[in-house]
Amino acid sequence: MGRLTVTNVSRTFGKKGSASTKALDNVSLEIKNEEFVCFIGPSGCGKTTLLRIIAGLDLPTSGEILLDGIQITVPDPKRGMVFQEYSLFPWRTVIDNVAFGPQMQGIKKKESLKIAEKYLELVGLEQFKNSFPYELSGGMRQRVAIARALATEPQVLLMDEPFGALDAQTRNTLQYELLEIWGKKNVTIMFVTHSMDEAVFLADRIVVMSARPGKIRDIINVDLPRPRDRTAPESNELRNHVLKLLAEERDK
């Protein structure tokens, strides 16, 4: 199961005394098991902060987040994360990167490598298992990062603009592949993005956020059947709607 309950979460940055920034202000949200939710909003709206808090890499100033009823305070392999930058360990080969999570859970090296192989197959990179990350292209690296995050069998996959640094072609391919993986692995996905197109193509629901302080502006249900046509009138309509919301945010 991967049901997330975010209740009144606020996060304030800055030391006592000096001016502080409110990155998140009273955010509440319910995410169903195996749902695909995209977060979109202007820079500084706290999307990444929310994701980091759910990952356990940051703590909320107030409020709480429950995963299947259990409060989140520290990082845990139950919540896998794919980062925006290249976060693969450059000193480990591709397969050793993917095997890292299972190994840390106390699974024997041989067994971990078997698991890693399975996930490399899932992202279509088994023939690159002995390469080092520097030998791979950007898209391949993020594929490995996804395999690595999945290798610990997480209930929730947190993705922080994972395709942000990739070219448009690779990006489209990876979006498509991600949906396939999501269909096979039954995980809840929280996906932060800057791209309208990406959100409309991927999400069950799009959470539009506003900046300073970071709040939920609107939640849009995307009821289009998959696989989606990026240029269908319904997609365009939705994109326009989100764009308008974001434009209002910018002008405020």
Partner: protein, 262 residues
Amino acid sequence: MDNNIKEAVHKRGLEALSLLVVVVLWQLVADLLVKNKLFLPSFVDVVLSFFKVIESGAIYADISVSLLHFGIGLFFALIIGIPIGILMGWFKTVNRIFDPIIEIIRPIPPLAWIPFAIIWFGLTHQSAGFVVFIGAVFPVIINTYTGFKNVSIIYVEAAKVLGCTRDLPLIRYVALPSALPSIAAGIRIAMGVGWMCLVAAEMFGVSTNGLGYKIWWHYYLHQMDFVLVYMLLLGFLGLVIDRAFRHYVDDRLLKWREGVVM
């Protein structure tokens, strides 16, 4: 065959020519200008002395004794320096405790420790090793520390999310491999400094062999050609040690790095 020679000349021709010119110039200057073996022994003098040193077998004892001193110093520099650097780089408190001590001791030239080395260890191999140790330990500490300080937070966070949350595994699986290039560079510097300290360390007669010791011994006898033999030996051996280390590290430990420039 012809092509092989051509290629070799093409690749290493200029380097070889440069060395050859220096040797010829040296020989000419020594023979025709200086004409004094004490001031400048010629290339041929040095080569002949070199063969004498090999013939007498002294060279093997000298090299092994020097490597022993160097080895003692470097060994302790590594097993003391690396853990201290790791603890300083990972734990802020440890850094605050060690930093002032290190900053005060570090600028003291290693050679200034020689009197205490003799008092503490007597005229022994350990005593020479201690001076090498003093020279080598600080580059090791500082580069290990810097390497650990510069571990990218993204790797640490990625590891944490994957279930590696305690200090010890984080150091072992993330920080140490990430800091390895910096540590390796520190060891190279340490080997260079330690090698330099060797001559001085052996100067005060901890043994009757050693490359550094022999420089002084032959100097007292005014055999400057032998002095030059040992000088060049120190240089060559230092070069070989450095190359061997670099080769090993680049091939075995750091092959994950793209386009290594070291």
